[in-house]
């Protein structure tokens, strides 16, 4: 188990470093004129145009943005967002941080000119949309012992599914039950402890759907008779109770005290004298 974990970590680390190196080597400035086609307007005075440095930043931003979105779309279904796109997201984050926080040569900041000089704030909006998406994917809460453990168990289960898929499903249910149960249990535990990243959630969901819907391995409802027997016994108890108490006890009697005025007066109305009654 520990081998698996180590190798995965290693892989992730190498991936990251490679990207970093790439990012640093991408410094040289490309052709500017190709970026801004001047078909729409005449140029503005020098001081209102954005500087070359900022243009450069904007260009990098565009590149990385496209890379990230590419990656996201490809990893949309089945969800592998966290697994595939973490690195490109962190690169996007870097360049955005460059734009918003850091100053370039000659203490020049591109923050105002790129992010907030107009109503639309394209760069900011685009970035914040993706940021929201990323936050809701919960990818940051990754990589604990349990996660790796879970991944390996899940893989085993899926292999098991594949193995028996073609044959009889009851056999599959029987032989993969233990593995599936483990995954389920592990997942339940992780779910309770903290938030899950979307990859794992989706993987688990798919596995569950496979298990219950496709292979029909849900638990059968086979205890109808005992349940019915016990509950009808309980339902029968009050009948006995009420019947017996109806037979053995009597309703409370109230002693009546006689003093009816209306009776008297109804008789009065029938023609008697005012106070001679009955």
């Amino acid at each position: 188990m520990s081998q698996h974990k180590n190798s995965l970590l290693l892989a992730l680390l190498t991936l990251n470093t490679i990207y970093m190196v790439q990012a640093d080597s991408l410094n040289p400035a490309p052709d500017m004129s190709s970026l801004f086609s001047t078909s729409l307007m005449s140029s503005f005075p020098e001081d209102l145009e954005i500087s070359g440095y900022c243009k450069e930043l904007l260009f990098f931003f565009k590149q990385r943005y496209v890379t990230f979105v590419d990656c996201l779309i490809l990893a949309a279904r089945p969800v592998k967002v966290c697994q595939n796109c973490s690195s490109s997201y962190s690169m996007l984050q870097d360049i955005y941080r460059n734009i918003s926080d850091q100053v370039g040569p000659g203490n020049e900041s591109c923050r105002d000119s790129l992010l907030s000089s107009d109503r639309l704030m394209v760069v900011y909006q685009l970035y914040s949309n993706l940021q929201d998406l990323w936050t809701s994917s919960n990818c940051e809460s990754n990589l604990t012992n349990d996660t790796l453990n879970f991944l390996s168990t899940l893989n085993q289960t899926l292999t098991c599914f594949e193995k028996y898929q073609l044959g009889n499903h009851t056999e599959l249910c029987k032989s993969c039950k233990k593995m599936y149960g483990d995954v389920n249990k592990l997942y339940g535990r992780m779910e309770k402890n903290d938030t899950m990243c979307i990859d794992l959630e989706d993987a688990m969901n798919m596995t569950r759907r496979l298990w219950s819907k496709n292979f029909n391995c849900s638990l059968p409802r086979d205890e109808t008779v005992p349940v019915l027997a016990v509950s009808s016994f309980m339902l029968f108890l009050p009948v006995i109770f009420y019947l017996s108490s109806f037979l053995h006890s009597e309703q409370k009697k109230r002693k009546l005290i006689h003093r009816s005025l209306l009776d008297r007066y109804s008789i009065k109305a029938a023609g008697d004298g005012i106070f001679s009654v009955r």
């Binding site: 205890e223 009546l256 005290i257 006689h258």
Partner: protein, 789 residues
Amino acid sequence: MANITKKVSWSSRPDETGATGETTPLLNGSEQPRHSRQVELMSGEGAIFHIGRHGAGDLEEEMTTEEVKSEGRPKEIPHNEKLLSLKFESLDYDNIENQLFLDEERRMSYMGFRCLEISRWVICALIGFLTGLIACFIDIVVEQVAKVKYNVIKENIETFTEAGGLSISLILWAVLNCSFVIVGAILVAFFEPIAAGSGIPQIKCYLNGVKIPRVVRLKTLVVKVCGVICSVVGGLAVGKEGPMIHSGGVVAAGVSQGRSTSLKRDFKIFEYFRRDTEKRDFVSAGAAAGVSAAFGAPVGGVLFSLEEGASFWNQMLTWRIFFASMISTFTLNFVLSVYHKKPGELSNPGLINFGRFESDVGDFFTSIFHSSTVLQAELLLCLMSAVLFCRYVHRPCLQVMEATLVAAVTAAVSFTMIYFSNDCQPLAPDNTEVYQLQLFCADGEYNSMATAFFNTPEKSVTSLFHDQPGTYNPLTLGLFTLTYFFLACWTYGLAVSAGVFIPSLLIGAAWGRLCGILLFWCSTWADPGKYALIGAAAQLGGIVRMTLSLTVILVEATGNVTYGLPIMLVLMTSKIVGDYFQEGLYDIHIKLQSVPFLHWEAPATSHWLTAREVMSSPVTCLNKIEKVGTIVDILSNTSTNHNGFPVVVQVMEGDVVILCGLILRSQLIVLLKHKVFVELARSRLTQRKLLLKDFRDAYPRFPPIQSIHVSQDERECMMDLTEFMNPTPYTVPQETSLPRVFKLFRALGLRHLVVVDDENRVVGLVSRKDLARYHLGKHGLEELHLAQT
């Protein structure tokens, strides 16, 4: 002579006569023929005036007629709702302005009165605070214990779903339920039967001016709180909101007195408030605080007190009550926010939270028209509860058994419903507060019947209001409503302390949601959650028949004023439809208890009845200076339990005895206890003068006359009542109409009203029971029978 006098004079007052003595029935039967109201003056100074329709001589003759005998014997009839019980007494809301009172008022400085006013406010704050704390306590305990219970059952079900043997889970569930309910039922049935039910009818009666024994005692509060916790955790179809109102009332009655008779502790504070009048004001504040804590609706609480409770009202009192309600809901909110570890967030104003609704009223007006289906349910409920109330189960052990059986059946029915339900819904993301059962659903889905049954009712209500459209399928909802409806009906009559608000909200919400879903199929814009709200409002309105206060409570609970009009229209409809068939549940309850309850108005067609016909006579009167022996005899006569005695004085000319005051039994008892006799005062010069404080100390549990020992010598002493009697009792002439008398009683909170003739001679006495007997039935004016219970 004395012997005969005794026999005649107070066993022949039929309305309060115990009908235990042998002579009584005969007298009752024979009282009609002669209406010559003569005042007979028995000889001697210590005699009792017997003002009656016949003398002792007449009696002898009429006893012989067979017919009279058979008619007069107390008939035994089964208990029904058309009776008035004799065991209930009135409260003294009228201030007794006797000499002592005037003395005290004179001694009190201006500052003293200011302090009184301030201490009233302090008491209201205390009431609100303590009521809020009690609500917190109930809420937290219920939540914790329910969590343990449901988790145990859930784990058990999960293991047994896999391994087989679900019937064992069913038995476990039933046993857990039963054990909680047994505890609750034992507490109620054996220790304090008055704590059964929601307590709202009792508080209503109390505020109306009827003294319900033991209703505002500490013991009742304790039993009530524990009982509610047990029955809610025990999974019965009940809520914890109704009992809060009773609890608030008890807290108020306790705090305002500054002592506890049960605990035998006297804190020597708030002594001035030891009177029925003051206590009543505080109890209405307590009831308001209870409502406010239950629903997070302070204004609704005040209006509840106004509508259901207090018959006597003024503007300063309203303001104080509002203060108490505010304090109560704030306390609850604050403590719960600390408990939920989010101090300062203040998101739990009441025990039940309806949650937020967006203010999109469009659907509402359409949904009102569909809520008429909901109304049918409520009618049935009223009928059912009326039927179920007359039960054959009276003995405490049987009551406990009954409650246990209901708990078991509730568990069994719920389990069967969940077991056979095929309605599976995908798990929502963070729904950790609701207990979800998977059972036979696919993994990652849960049984939606279980969200309705396998939760405390409050949570079910909230999920019915707020879950996404499509969370429930119609069959589930229909079955749920039907079963829960019968369970709720059955549970209401049990001897457990529990409220009816939540079950009716739940039934209504399920009905409403069902309507919403059915409509959802035809058109896509209906939000079933709102239908659920409307349904809940209609159902609740149909059961309790409150109008103003319920509207405000619901508006406040949903936190959206925009919904006011739709809710109001729904409540109006449900009240109109409901009233056509049956009275509200609380009124039925009050009737079944045979309480002499005075409604807002006298029956409409009763102007032809005059005080002469309504009053009870003859009256036992006392002389201004009366012999102790006579007083003791009158008080200790078991066949009568008169509470007010007109005091008369003999005018010089001879036979004429005119009214000069009114004295209460409780006052007489205190006087006897302190031996305020004329002779003793003369011999012992140092004797302390009796103060109003002595009367207050004895309040509210005046000792019975049997516990006061009066020696043979003392019996010969005389007692001067001048200082202690109320010298200006309210009187009416004989020709006053019933509605007029009624208005006096209702507005002034009277207990006794003396009927006098032209010369100020006592002719009769009107008490609450004499008025409450007349009510408008299906065939015009009807008269209730008086009965012993």
